[in-house]
């Protein structure tokens, strides 16, 4: 029996009727999921929603099978308690914590069942208290009398989002880092249910503001798939250009910040400036430096004129030269490499087992890249080989970024040169009722999954967003083990995960 049995197999961005998704007992559901992961599949999303009477809960799994380039979908009824999947399959640990928090159910035997967002439950009755005390949970503690704990945040020293970090240390050595989030929770998932409304696209655009293009691409792909249309080729190309600009801008900013964290100021300063230059190119496309208002279901709101294409091509070349000089300087400096190498190392097997995605996974040698494994939009026509590095340390995470910057700049130039003609926007018809669609997109941090179902009125029955940070925060915690506390800023920046994308 193949690991993909009995999942309903479908492609990325290919909707299926809700009624056609196989439904099995929870016991089998659990076994099939674990077998699928053992067979090389990855969990992408696990939405839960109440039945029409509100008495029962349904659960759905979106498994990515990269070997056959298909997504496998399976549903079941979610019992109030079940034997946790996490001990058998650690990549489910954050999903089970989310489900337990949102729906007041219990995965028995979960090793660290604590809230991930400190948000009110989705099952709350109107008269129940809405407040959950943020950061009030049973944190890990060390019993050794020589051990000590360092607690940091939610307000940090830099211009950065809030999160709470607890280091369990012995001397300078970190035994474990516990990460407690939820400070950025704005209630997006709840507000998306019942949509689309005038606000839906804006929720997605600001879900993780530095990934506006990535998440909005997923939103547009979802609505277009549910409405059974394809965006015009020219719109797809402009979306891909915007997505790669977003990747380049963030990677350059990250490399600059990594240089800053080891005290190498030239690259910090050059990259800080160049990042702004790249954001300005996105503003050239649509007026907004983060690409807000550019992507819409049906296409893009702004076309590229010949003059802008020339301007962008010239600017991309200038940015390539500036970036190359700034970043190669850093990688040729032995004192920087001495700090990057063998700091925050993760083994490839650890990364695979805990379900890491994106740059952090590729820096451990995993060839995970949605643009290549489950191509969508323009990436169906323009192949981008996956950039990996095997070291799994801060150097690897920095170097994969540099490889991707070069690849993306070349891709943007090529797309500008070969921009397809024609329209940039189509009318979006009414979306289909009673359908489910899973969309994967490679954001600059990694895999973005939007898993969406529509009800009989064509409204979102649920709209589940899984940001890459959701998979990766625990990777940072493990990378810190046996490091010194002073390595934390460097390790943290080498992952550069999103707080708001996680907290939603």
């Amino acid at each position: 029996m193949a690991a993909s049995d009995p999942f309903l197999l479908t492609g990325n961005c290919e909707p299926v009727p809700m009624a056609s998704i196989p439904r099995v007992s929870f016991e089998s559901f659990r076994d099939f999921l674990i077998d699928a992961v053992k067979g090389g599949a990855r969990i992408s999303a696990m939405p839960v929603w109440p039945s029409e009477t509100g008495q029962q809960l349904n659960v759905l799994a979106v498994m990515a099978f990269p070997q056959i380039a298909e997504l496998g979908i399976l549903t079941s009824e979610l019992p109030p308690r079940w034997p946790s999947l996490t001990p058998d399959c650690p990549s489910f640990h954050w999903f089970e914590r989310e489900i337990a928090e949102q729906w007041h159910v219990v995965p028995d035997g979960h090793p660290w069942l604590k809230p991930i967002r400190f948000a009110p439950s989705c099952r709350l009755q109107p008269n129940q208290s809405k407040s959950v005390a943020i950061g009030q949970t049973e944190f890990f503690a060390m019993s050794d009398h020589e051990g000590h704990e360092v607690a940091v945040g939610p307000v940090h020293a830099g211009v950065i989002e809030p999160g709470h970090f607890r280091f369990l240390c012995h001397g300078e050595t970190v035994f474990h880092l516990e990460i407690s989030l939820g400070y950025q929770h704005r209630g997006i998932e709840k507000a998306m249910t019942g949509g689309p409304t005038l606000l839906s696209r804006h929720y997605i655009e600001t879900l993780a503001g530095d990934t506006t293009v990535g998440h909005t691409t997923a939103y547009c792909n979802t609505l277009e798939a549910l409405a059974a249309i394809q965006a015009p080729a020219r719109a797809e190309a402009i979306r891909a250009i915007a997505a790669e600009l977003e990747r380049v801008a963030n990677h350059i900013g990250d490399i600059g910040a990594l240089a800053g964290d080891v005290g190498f100021l030239p690259t910090l300063n050059y990259c800080g400036r160049i990042r702004g230059d790249v954001l300005n190119l996105t503003a050239e496309l649509c007026g907004n430096r983060f690409g807000r208002g550019l992507l819409r279901p049906g296409g893009v709101a702004f076309d590229l004129h010949a003059k802008s294409i020339d301007y962008l091509s010239n600017r991309i070349e200038a940015i390539r030269q500036d970036t190359t000089s700034a970043i190669e300087l850093m990688f040729d400096t032995p004192s920087v490499l001495a700090r990057f190498e063998r700091t925050g190392t993760l083994a490839i097997e650890t990364a695979r087992r805990i379900g890491m995605v994106g740059v952090a996974a590729r820096a451990c040698g995993l060839e995970y890249d949605i643009r290549n494994e489950f191509p969508y939009g323009m990436y169906r026509l323009a192949q981008l080989p996956v950039k990996t590095w095997a070291s799994g340390d801060c150097f690897g995470r920095a170097y994969v970024r540099w490889l991707e910057i070069q690849q993306s700049l070349a891709f943007i130039r090529q797309q500008l040169h070969e921009l397809p003609g024609g329209k940039t926007e189509k009318e979006l018809p009414v979306i289909r009722q009673g359908y489910f669609c899973a969309v994967l997109v490679e954001g600059w941090r990694g895999e973005i999954c939007h898993a969406v179902a529509t009800d009989q009125q064509g409204r979102f029955a649920f709209y589940k967003v899984v940001d890459p940070s959701f998979h990766n925060w625990f990777g940072l915690a493990l990378a810190l083990r046996h490091q010194q506390i002073s390595d934390f800023p460097l390790c943290n920046k080498s992952f550069n995960l999103s707080y708001c994308g996680h907290d939603q």
């Binding site: 307000v155 606000l199 050059y270 702004g276 708001c500």
Partner: protein, 253 residues
Amino acid sequence: MLRIIKTRFSQKYRTMSFPNGPAPELPERFAGRPVISDNCVSGCNNCQSNCPTGAITFSNENECPAIDTGKCIFCRACQTACPSNNIQFGPDYRLAAISRNNLIISNNPPVPENIRHRLAAKLFSRSLKLRQVSAGGCNACEADSNVLGTPAWDMGRLGIQFVASPRHADGLLITGPVTQNMKLALEKTYAAVPSPKIVIAIGTCAISGGIYCDHPEQCNGAESILPVDLFIPGCPPHPLTIFDGLLRFLGRL
């Protein structure tokens, strides 16, 4: 070492001359201060019904729309929806205000108000140290504030800097709608800043809650918790809008 010096030359001097020279050029499609005219078709409220955040109102005596830039996310849905081209988001980046009411813009907009803050101009005009607090911000307002410290903008040359501790700060720069989960941390951070202190709300979320307005998970902006001295609207505001707002607030422009 020689390589570092050589790279320094090839990267050149890139700090803008603003505020002593002209402001940097903004992209053609930039959406700045709305320009509203009053040729409305009687009874038309397309702009209002297409606005995702309820930023547009019509006053009774006047059939011309007014946009509350403290709620507006500059998505231009109203501009597209208007049959008479009455709403344009112009190139003027000067959007900051020191009173909430002055963020509401209607026809015949006055020249952007004088936003010099008496206390801030007297105490902090040559040195303003700010503690940034993200309270549900999406990282866009944070990024466009942070960029002001990079060599292109270099607001440090004018004495404005972000500092690591609230105890070293003259005030707070707040982004995000102020989530319930950040409320206490924000209050504590404010309390830790020595008086006299100022509060700056950056971005539509921090001013009114923005698109998250009335979600139970947040507090509809910083003003619900703290006295706000300077409002800088946008989603996110362009760095130039923030820079201009800070400089005029301090009486340096």
